[in-house]
């Protein structure tokens, strides 16, 4: 009897409390900062190109093999705006297969892919879940803004920083080479001058 009455009072007390329901879609519960949504590709604004070079490490490591990627030569290298010799040409993620495990982000050394906050990507067609490069870059752009994203390794990956670093290193090497006075150093200087001319 007593326990039954206590139980009745417990349920009765809930009539005075606010319900826990979040009325979707009018009310979206915010995701936490570390939330792993669908993967998205990030853009290097200093070179106006994706970070992704198509190295295929993430494609290989994906447990469900949901990604395909093709790389090609980077036209921006010749113009001197980027240090990436290869750049991604096509990239497709089958979002139906992605299990949101985050392994692709863990293995990427180029800061190219991140788990975005996207989780509401339902579409009306079966092929609607195949995200191509354009979609992934758009999602990535949104993620970069939402999370105030900064690269983990800017010296290696951000084009402006990498190019500046390389230029500084080359200048230092040239100065060192010119500073030497021995014939070997002179031959070296010639060698380095040739190398400089090529790069």
């Amino acid at each position: 009897m007593i326990a039954g009455v206590k139980g009745l009072l417990t349920t009765l007390r809930w009539l005075g409390k606010r319900p826990l329901t979040a009325h979707y879609p009018e009310q979206h519960l915010p995701v936490q900062e570390r939330y792993m949504g669908f993967p998205a590709l990030l853009t290097d604004d200093t070179a106006d190109e994706p970070f992704c070079t198509g190295c295929m490490v993430c494609v290989r490591e994906c447990p469900t093999q949901c990604m395909t990627a093709v790389m090609h030569d980077n036209p921006n290298v010749a113009e001197g705006t980027s240090h990436r010799r290869k750049i991604i040409e096509t990239f497709e993620i089958n979002l139906n297969r992605c299990i949101l495990c985050g392994i692709c982000v863990d293995v990427c050394a180029l800061d190219a892919i991140e788990m975005s906050y996207e989780h509401e990507l339902a579409s009306f067609g079966r092929a609607g879940a195949r995200a191509d490069l354009e979609i992934l870059l758009t999602l990535g752009r949104r993620y970069m803004e939402q999370s105030a994203w900064t690269p983990k390794n800017p010296e290696k990956n951000v084009a402006a920083v990498a190019l500046a670093k390389k230029a500084a290193a080359d200048a230092a090497k040239a100065a060192a080479a010119e500073g030497a006075s021995s014939p070997a150093a002179g031959a070296d200087a010639g060698g380095t001058a040739e190398a400089e001319g090529e790069s």
């Binding site: 009897m1 007593i2 326990a3 039954g4 139980g7 009745l8 417990t10 349920t11 009765l12 809930w14 009539l15 409390k17 319900p19 826990l20 329901t21 009325h23």
Partner: protein, 393 residues
């Protein structure tokens, strides 16, 4: 008595109105249950269909009517079709005698209470027929269970109704309400009220007595093979029955449209009656939210060993009071005294041993004591390190 055309038209109009009123009331119960249960569980009920989800029952009804009516191939077609009607029609017919307010009834039968009892038994036949004609094991099990349960729990209902009839001196609903001018019968005979509510719960098939159509066991019991409109009829009949138990409780025990206000305009009386009915129905839903369901043998034990003796005790005590002319409060006192033994038995033989057991478990739980922690090692070790070699921090 000649049957004039005007009489026939008039009565038909009344019946049609009654049909609609009862149907709307049952649908409102569907809405109320979902909302109330939702709020008690920390969620909202239906909110999308209409304001506050008020049109949800109508949406459910339309959906059910549009579904395909499947009958199992091996079922007996005629019986399969007739069974829902046998459940539904008696539930409706009782409403002919039930007064919603002063002079607001279709027929004030002198044998109103008897009429109610007689018709409610017909519903049982329909359930058993549904279970049998479905030709499915789950349905058969549900049918057997429902037969046993419903027939057993008719007896306490009949006895408590007899108690009310004795106190009021009449079997007519109207007279019973009029007799509760001063004090409602719930205060006079709380024992009968309690027994009536519990037995009513069992008659309707509501938790904790809903084993015969429990989803988690017999997946619907006698209703398991019904779909679409036929199932909608069973569903509606269940809610009409729930409303009826509430209405009966309000009329027989809570003073209907009269207590405590006496003679008021009809609309106010109806409002008061409906308020009492919905209050009882809300309690029924509240119990549904809280209690698990009883097993069939426990249910039968409870019915035969607890409710039936209690109902007979209520009957006998009322008879004594009426014969010896004891004051009314004596009846209340005796009712409460009679309620003490079952409560005591439950506390002494079920709750106390369970609590003692819990206490005992708290004592015999094996305690594991923390070992002293070594100073945390700041160095990280490298994988594949040969034993004996250690890297520096």
């Amino acid at each position: 008595m000649s049957l004039e055309l005007m009489d026939v038209v008039w009565v038909s109009l009344w019946l049609f109105t009654l049909l609609n009123v009862v149907a709307v009331a049952a649908l409102s119960l569907v809405w109320l249950e979902r909302k109330l249960l939702g709020r008690m569980q920390g969620r909202v009920g239906p909110t999308r269909v209409g304001p506050f989800g008020l049109l949800q029952p109508i949406a459910d009804g339309i959906k059910l009517l549009m579904k395909e009516d499947i009958a199992p191939g091996s079922s007996s077609r005629v019986l399969f079709f007739v069974a829902p009607l046998l459940v539904f029609v008696p539930s409706y017919m009782v409403w002919i005698t039930i007064p919603f307010g002063r002079d607001l009834f279709v027929r004030n039968l002198d044998l109103g209470l008897f009429f109610f009892v007689a018709l409610s038994v017909l519903g049982i036949v329909g359930l058993v027929l549904a279970g049998w004609s479905s030709n499915s094991k789950y349905a058969i099990l549900g049918g057997f269970r429902s037969a046993a349960q419903l027939v057993s729990y008719e007896i306490p209902i009949i006895m408590t109704i007899l108690v009310v009839a004795m106190l009021a001196g009449s079997l007519s609903f109207h007279d019973v309400v009029l007799a509760q001018d001063v004090v409602p019968y719930a205060a006079v005979q709380p024992l009968a009220f309690g027994v009536f509510l519990l037995a009513g719960l069992a008659e309707v098939g509501r938790t904790p007595f809903d084993i015969y159509h429990a989803e988690s066991e017999v997946v619907g019991g006698p209703f398991v093979e019904y779909s679409g409109a036929h199932w909608a009829i069973f569903f509606l009949a269940e809610y009409i029955n729930t409303f009826m138990v509430g209405a009966l409780g309000a009329l027989l025990f809570l003073g209907g449209w009269r207590w405590p206000v006496g003679d008021v305009p009809a609309a106010a009386g109806v409002a008061l009656f409906l308020f009492k009915t919905y209050a009882i129905v809300a309690v029924i839903f509240w119990v549904r939210a809280t209690y698990p369901r009883m097993r069939i043998d426990q249910l039968m034990s409870f019915g035969w060993k607890v409710l039936i003796p209690l109902s007979f005790a209520a009957f006998v005590v009322t008879a004594f009071q009426m014969f010896y002319g004891w004051p009314i409060w004596m009846l209340t006192l005796l009712s409460l005294v009679i309620l003490v033994p079952p409560i005591y038995i439950q506390l002494r033989w079920q709750r106390t041993p369970a609590m003692a057991l819990a206490k005992h478990y708290a004592e015999i739980a094996v305690a594991v004591h923390a070992q002293p922690r070594p100073v945390p090692v700041a160095a990280v070790t490298e994988a594949h390190a040969a034993p004996g070699t250690e890297d520096d921090a």
